[in-house]
Symmetry: C2
Subunit: 158 residues, 2 copies
């Protein structure tokens, strides 16, 4: 389960280690973590809430980066390709991956109140895929699961 968003933690560690892992992964893959790509990754990791591409634009602009949609979409595509971020389709938003480098399906719980997302262990999703392959003859290449509901904090608040 990699990490538990609902436990108090020093979030700077999340950001820093995300960047460190990204740097290592890029090195290993011969990919270039350019300034705008790194900054987008940091902004995605600003908190544990999935962030929309258009939310990033003004932040990049503030910092003197070019801020047109293609800039941020290209950076996000790069990060997606390397598995450094996941896309939450139901929100049209992006969130940092807690264990990049290891191939795994995108599997998240998202709180409908606070918007925080927790990456989940995806072993069960793999089972669904293998079952579909066995029973239907399909070949699964990508997988994503999104659960929605209330996180522990928002349950308490209500």
């Amino acid at each position: 389960m990699a990490q538990n968003v609902y436990k108090a933690h020093d979030h700077h560690v999340c950001i820093d280690s995300a960047v460190a892992r990204a740097r290592a992964l890029c090195e290993q893959q011969g990919a270039r973590l350019t300034p705008v790509r790194q900054r987008v990754l940091e902004l995605v990791w600003a908190n544990h809430k999935p962030v929309g591409a258009y939310d990033l634009l003004p932040k990049l602009a503030e910092e003197g980066f070019n801020s047109a949609p293609p800039t941020v979409y290209r950076a996000l595509d790069f990060l997606l390709d390397l598995g450094l971020v996941h896309r939450i389709s139901s929100l049209n938003a992006f969130i940092g991956c807690t264990h990049p480098g290891e191939a795994h399906p995108s599997c998240f719980f998202v709180c409908r109140e606070c918007g925080e997302a927790q990456e989940l262990d995806a072993e069960q999703v793999n089972k669904i895929a293998r079952q579909a392959e066995a029973m239907l003859g399909v070949r699964v290449e990508q997988q994503m699961t999104e659960l929605m509901g209330l996180c522990p904090r928002c349950q308490d608040a209500a």
Copy 2:
């Protein structure tokens, strides 16, 4: 598994029974399956490929229905609320549910070549949800899984 899209079948039966089930469900729930709602449902069921809202607009227009985006989105929202269709988030598209009336997560395999989608048994997804609830204390209200890859036919073609 309800139904296997990859087996030859008389698709008119799919459409007709979808409409019949919708009628029954609406009756039961005191909801109104108005002409535009029924027609949208039929169009969604035209084949086993998820269909975009904007693909429906011209078809509705041809038949003299009002064809502005809100019309089709309202009809789709109605059908979603009743569980008569599912939304495939990764495609921004909609597809008929093969077993409406029974509460269940949205769980599909979608072929990246032909676009056909097969609804899957969702028992494993429920396990993911229960596991997340037990380990993290979250409360899951909605679930969706989308698998992408190649269907049997498109594997043969390649």
